[in-house]
Symmetry: D2
Subunit: 358 residues, 4 copies
Amino acid sequence: MSSPSTDPIPVAIVGASGYSGEELVRLLLHHPSVNLAAVTSRQYSGQTVAQIFPKFASHPKSRTLRFTDPNPDTLARAARIVFLALPHGVAAEFAIPLLAAGCTVIDLSADFRLRSAATYAEFYNHEHPAPHLLAQAVYGLPELHRDQIRNATLVASAGCYPTSILLPTIPLIRAGLIKSTGIIADSLSGVSGAGRKAEVDYLFCECNESLRAYGVPKHRHLSEIEEQLTLAAGHPVTVQFTPHLVPVNRGIHTTLYLAPAEPFHNATEAAALADRISACYRDAYANEPFVRLLEGKALPDTKNVVGTNLVEIAWRLDPRTGRLLAFSAEDNILKGASGQAVQNMNVLCGFPETTGLQ
Amino acid sequence: MSSPSTDPIPVAIVGASGYSGEELVRLLLHHPSVNLAAVTSRQYSGQTVAQIFPKFASHPKSRTLRFTDPNPDTLARAARIVFLALPHGVAAEFAIPLLAAGCTVIDLSADFRLRSAATYAEFYNHEHPAPHLLAQAVYGLPELHRDQIRNATLVASAGCYPTSILLPTIPLIRAGLIKSTGIIADSLSGVSGAGRKAEVDYLFCECNESLRAYGVPKHRHLSEIEEQLTLAAGHPVTVQFTPHLVPVNRGIHTTLYLAPAEPFHNATEAAALADRISACYRDAYANEPFVRLLEGKALPDTKNVVGTNLVEIAWRLDPRTGRLLAFSAEDNILKGASGQAVQNMNVLCGFPETTGLQ
Amino acid sequence: MSSPSTDPIPVAIVGASGYSGEELVRLLLHHPSVNLAAVTSRQYSGQTVAQIFPKFASHPKSRTLRFTDPNPDTLARAARIVFLALPHGVAAEFAIPLLAAGCTVIDLSADFRLRSAATYAEFYNHEHPAPHLLAQAVYGLPELHRDQIRNATLVASAGCYPTSILLPTIPLIRAGLIKSTGIIADSLSGVSGAGRKAEVDYLFCECNESLRAYGVPKHRHLSEIEEQLTLAAGHPVTVQFTPHLVPVNRGIHTTLYLAPAEPFHNATEAAALADRISACYRDAYANEPFVRLLEGKALPDTKNVVGTNLVEIAWRLDPRTGRLLAFSAEDNILKGASGQAVQNMNVLCGFPETTGLQ
Amino acid sequence: MSSPSTDPIPVAIVGASGYSGEELVRLLLHHPSVNLAAVTSRQYSGQTVAQIFPKFASHPKSRTLRFTDPNPDTLARAARIVFLALPHGVAAEFAIPLLAAGCTVIDLSADFRLRSAATYAEFYNHEHPAPHLLAQAVYGLPELHRDQIRNATLVASAGCYPTSILLPTIPLIRAGLIKSTGIIADSLSGVSGAGRKAEVDYLFCECNESLRAYGVPKHRHLSEIEEQLTLAAGHPVTVQFTPHLVPVNRGIHTTLYLAPAEPFHNATEAAALADRISACYRDAYANEPFVRLLEGKALPDTKNVVGTNLVEIAWRLDPRTGRLLAFSAEDNILKGASGQAVQNMNVLCGFPETTGLQ
């Protein structure tokens, strides 16, 4: 889909009633180069977008566009690009007929993020529903795989935690500046990451004034984190990943503990290493519209990125331990999900990458 | 139950897995004059209190006491006093056999708070399940009905909003200092008031950073508020009541708009009226252990009462409008529910009223 | 300033480091028809916008535009429109020379919101610093005073609480549908309303899990609320206003207690009155881009308007009390401050009113 | 002070207006074996405890006990035990005369937590104010140093982060089950940890909906963490410590990344190691009243310990990385500060250790 069309491209969202789906609706309603032609939700079928999401009611289309039951045939007729904001497993079931019907699919679930169906089965506890599609899927993290996304028909938009972990580490791995062993990622996530599900664990009173780790030691997102790091390193990489649930609506903060490939023994060596790290990050991200490299004393803070598609990154060498610490902050629903999905669409449609995201 | 026994009184809680039930467990585990003999929860049947509520795990009994399925016969054999922390409608079904078996019942639901079965049917949308018991039930607000509670076998512990509204108004009504017409109660409640129910409306992300009125203009608690005010006034009283949901775990704040019975026209009259209001509140509450009358510039703040059984009350005369404003703050789960239930128990057992509540 | 220019209009912000100032910076950086030429802050003088507000760092101008010390001469040379985001009293000191130098001034403080210098002195406890300017100032609430704003040189952008109170009441007052007596406004505000001031009362731990009324019974905003209602009614109006501080970052929710001008005695009369109220609101706001009249069961919720310039309004007739309840929700920093200021600018510059606000 | 007296021991608090001081007031007002004889606060001098802390107003003494200016002579006459809730540097200035006058001092600051004045100077950026007292000071973490605390005259109550880190690691270090190298502690803290200081960084709107690391890579608390681990290991230990500020009032959650002393290569070896870790923790803490070892799937959650003096600890072996993860949760103001200080007092006075803490 390399040549941008002048007419708005018809797009659809399957599963538009969750937090990511809602944000996709917002972004695509306002996107100047697409026409949001269909949104599906079994739960809200027949109601307008404005009725379910009053905050979008001032957009005229929100008052006419109605949720429908999801039907691949109808979707394929209505849209050229279909976004899947569905649980894993279910997403693949929609991808199969939509791709067969000639649609481009941008999947926000984990179904097509792994190249290995075996790894999928290990981490998601069921056989992959469409292993034959894995080879054609592209991992949708534009800063790392922009060229492949351009020609993709199936984009597996990168996950929220993986985005916060891969962006600070991949350039260092590629440049050989850090060891690929011993990587630790300690992450904090807002509660929207759990989705809009009626579960007691995510009630206000269960999350407010609560701090807790969960999903240790083998969270599902490890699979894509490790596969991407393995691809970058050229050999298998294992990661220690600890997610924590903290009482904010949105935001992921990640602290990474990394080992420089070559240790530094004094201030001179530290300064030289710091220069190489700086240069490495600048090379990777200085021209990236959605990555902000912090300088000076500033450290990432989710409140600076929530509501945007930006990732903040900062780092420190610790002369006491010899480690390199890296920090990132992002909005888990934007750069971690729906913003990234739109960014992927912009790339594959040849739109300027920031279209509809500023 | 007027003579306090020296042996701990065996007590039970039916429906101990919600927020009020959990707090009752905490209070009764530590209460020096009772023995928590049984706790029921269909959901957690067979598990220990410590397993479900780890925060109580340091109390030895929490590691041996197990939730059971609720069975009135078993409960009646195990306990002399049974607390019902159940939804309305269900509570009455348990009260009937328990009372028949000779237990004293302290009900935290709304089932026995009204004298009129017709009013109950109007506000709760179903026939009262045990209208023959209404006459023997006592409204469980000790500051207003202590004498009746002493001899009660069925105490309908007062509701959270009603407590915050009745305590500041009843003394003024009884003293004839305010009109019984035109009363407005504007209340804010923390999310625990909605219970530990898996509903999307009470998810963290749906409540955090949200302010909203609900249940207008005819919230169920109006029925008991108006019945109690009507009893105090000696003639029918209608109240305007607007509850709001705000993002705190616990706490109710109420602002009351009242009309002095006799208007004041100048500073001298205002000062005279202020003296009478002060005296009225002092007469009513100066010796009440759980009512704190604020003086000077202080206004109630839920953060000063959360975690306690206290109600803070303050008031202001407004010379510009001629109105009397009254303010109250309480912990909706303590003075608004479980603390009040224990206070009621202390009264009817002849224990010092603050036992286990400080 | 009735003819829109094709070149971007140079604008400046005085006092750009508070919450309203920061939001103005954001709005004006992205506004397509203006050029943000100067921002002042004594505290941050010399630093770039991007350094102080990293969330704006992806806008190129944020990396070159530097805060300066506020100097009226310099500002008048740099900008045709100057926004004052300053404390009351201080704002007037800047307005005097800026107006003299030919600038248009949009003041976010309370300094020019009242026509009466005496009322100002009564509510703000100091003499008005520029009483000669009061006659030329226009109250900046476009939905009510659009025509005057078009030709104004000094716009006193309406306050946050007043906006939430006046928008639901003025049309009813003008139409004679409610009495002008006995009006009660009960409001809840997020903590950003207190400004970015280092005071213990607004620390996280002092506000989180806290609900409290404040500023009763004579909050400063009453002065402009009453003056505007008095203008609409044609005779003096006194209002009961109770603000509460609740733990959200942003948002104001107001519940209004109003008396229909003619009482209704049965369902037929209630339905007739409801029709007139509906029609009144539709006449007033159906074409307003920033007012959303809720229908059906929906009630305003700040989470639906935070981040937008919208006000949500709903209402209910209460057959039990005969009252009319009205509810509104807004973002206190957008429609309550900076969004409204930009809306005022759009009106007076002849830009489409939603420019830069969607 | 080994023989418990029957008369209440007179105690005093210097610096009682911060969060830790306030909590100490609460604990000591209700402690059955002491008499809170004096509380100091320059800011509140002359006012009663009830006036400043209305939540304690129901305790009779709160209405008579007045804050005074801090004067060592007066304090030494009034109290046998003096708690210092002061900033570091200032605390030592009070400790010197109080110890000279024969008082026992329990210091909540960092002034006497280190044995090395040089380390103090390195981490606190000023010379130690009383290096001659360091040798007599005892590190106040009863679970680790109970015997020394019993005979102490100067107890340096352990810090909040250190408590959450040392309790899960010291038993493993002492038992040789983990390496003393490569330890990483990743901690989350509520905002009360920053104290009741009027600083913009800790305003509600700056902390709410914000997640950020700070104080990296050399937070002051590292000094005592490393000194205590060094003492336990018998050789120098360096730690990687990253604190994060998250929007809760209270609570610290720590995730520790540890390396087993001997690697495990298969499930059998992992099970054997797990048994040794379990046994090690049980030996250390099974009888500790304030340490709760979680079993099964449960992980620490601050909401289970806030309001208590408990620390929750859990751990996991990760077969994928070979690491041992340990987790802890505590109330930073109770077990992390004031509760621990009272626990230290109980130990040195020979009171049952849980007195006044349940």
